[in-house]
Symmetry: C2
Subunit: 323 residues, 2 copies
């Protein structure tokens, strides 16, 4: 059995940690969004890959959700004194990861190889795979004009009104060849932002085809609970895009492809507070299960991982899903 988990940042990493506690390293592969990546201060910054790496290493900052536990900021303070850019915060320990990654990439290693070596150094035994070794950059179209993702997300704190998204480079990127689609028995779309975390992953040529080729059931966990996003700008984006910020709309987003392609999601995990939406989601052709999806404790993460794995098992058993 190999489970594929498609994930973005903090919210997705919580479920990934649950999966990593329930599944052995050979039983799960984490496929991470790199649409958030950018070059800054001469470093390759890969926020979602690093959030997952630190989370699986139990080295993540539990309060901020990003960066390292017990981080210090002497570099940033000194950089400010020297007139450097400080809107994107890099801690003293986090810098070591970035210096090391630059060394590995400069030595000709792929982002996948560099990610693996860094994760190993931090004691992570599960596989973390960037969605692609090629650059894909999420561009956020806003009322103020297009913004590189981190400028929208970090520098401007998601304030500009969103009108759409582009994934620069996606067309010419290749799906990470290390993703073992042929062994995959189940696929999880983590409760990450559908527009800027999951869609970039699915936009990489070969990703949807690989998912479909695997014939495995695909279950998505709703990032919207009771009309709000647990974390991040998902709900705000939906409102700005003119759709209600509801779990049903997220299900629609996954069940209906704007580009007319066949949908890949087969099942949808709804939070208990949205249980009454189950019928509407099923009407979209998705099987459903209701669970406690808000992950406050480690137990919450493990419990949701178990629910998702059971749901995948049931989905796999159901007829017609391999079609």
């Amino acid at each position: 059995m190999t489970i594929l988990a498609l994930t973005g940042g903090v919210g997705g990493a919580k479920l990934c940690l649950g999966l990593a506690r329930v599944l052995a390293p050979e039983e799960v592969v984490f496929v991470v969004n790199t649409g958030d990546d950018f070059e800054h201060l001469g470093f390759h910054i890969s926020p979602d890959v690093d959030t997952l790496t630190y989370t699986l290493a139990d080295a993540a900052n539990p309060v901020a959700g990003w960066g390292r536990q017990g981080e210090t900021w002497h570099f940033m303070e000194a950089l400010e004194e020297l007139g450097g850019e400080t809107w994107f915060r890099l801690g003293d320990k986090d810098l070591a990861l970035h210096v090391r990654r630059r060394e590995l990439l400069a030595a000709g290693q792929s982002l996948t190889a560099a990610t693996a070596q860094i994760a190993q150094g931090l004691g992570v035994r599960h596989r973390i795979l960037p969605m692609s070794n090629d650059p894909v950059r999420t561009l956020v179209h806003t009322a103020d004009g297009p913004l590189a993702f981190q400028h929208y997300f970090v520098r401007d704190r998601c304030a500009p009104e969103v009108t759409g998204f582009d994934f620069h480079g996606a067309a010419s990127a290749s799906v990470n060849p290390a993703i073992p689609f042929d062994q995959v028995t189940g696929i999880v779309i983590c409760p990450s932002n559908p527009f800027v975390s999951v869609d970039p992953v699915l936009a990489v040529p070969g990703m949807r085809e690989g998912v479909r080729r695997s014939g495995a059931p695909v279950v998505a966990v709703s990032p919207i609970v009771g009309g709000a996003a647990i974390k991040g700008p998902t709900a705000k984006m939906m409102q700005e895009l003119g759709v209600p910020a509801t779990t049903v709309e997220v299900a629609k987003h996954y069940a209906q492809r704007a580009d007319g392609g066949a949908p890949i999601v087969t099942g949808f995990v709804i939070d208990a507070v949205d249980a009454d939406a189950e019928g509407e989601v099923q009407a979209l052709g998705l099987s459903t299960t209701v669970a406690q999806t808000v992950m406050r404790s480690l137990d919450d993460r493990v419990d949701l991982a178990r629910v998702v794995l059971d749901f995948l098992g049931a989905s796999a058993a159901a007829p017609g899903l391999k079609a």
Copy 2:
């Protein structure tokens, strides 16, 4: 009046601080050895330039002599965990200087411009000029084979027996065009290592010519006191090169050119403990003065700076020295 001070690392920086306390920013220019520079962890490391910058900014670590005051080491600890090279210590604050310098150099600025902008950020008002904007790399020939300077000096702690030196790139380097030779009225060779701090500076094409063209007196301060070096491997190197570690031998090194070229040093500052060597040094054709050259306090630095400036004034007044 413009005084030119040729300097290397810690010992030279002490006298430079004294000169900076006595002279206004427009009255002195510090010309710094960059033969110690190297690329490490993707950064341009310039130890002597940084030691002087931090010293003039009152930001230097008073104990180590290199690096920043109140430095922290979280980056290094995390880098070690990730399997990075840690033999060359870069502190969290010091990293900011290196990230900033890389940005400035990558933007096409010269080492001189980058050095000036960083110094300004740290509140330094005096001019710090790298000897050249071109790469010159000191190679230390040892019984164990040739070593890049920092490998000899830091990684191997000066243990290998020295047999000679090369200044790679010197032949094709150009002297820093910002050095105002035509306005120079006096030149100080700081009490730095003659072989690996001062000789690389003098090896840059145009440096000796500029010094000679200025017609200014050139006084060197002995880095050897009572047969020992105040700091660093000078005495050990002399012994390994088969010359006694005495102030007279340093004077000879400056008064006699191995390559047969005309010597540029006109005066030599001897420490009080070596006063009895004055006759021997004068016999080499150098004027002399005796002073307390061991700089423990800031007052010591200022006092020696005054002695050197008085000696330059007297030397300039003396006949024949402009020849």
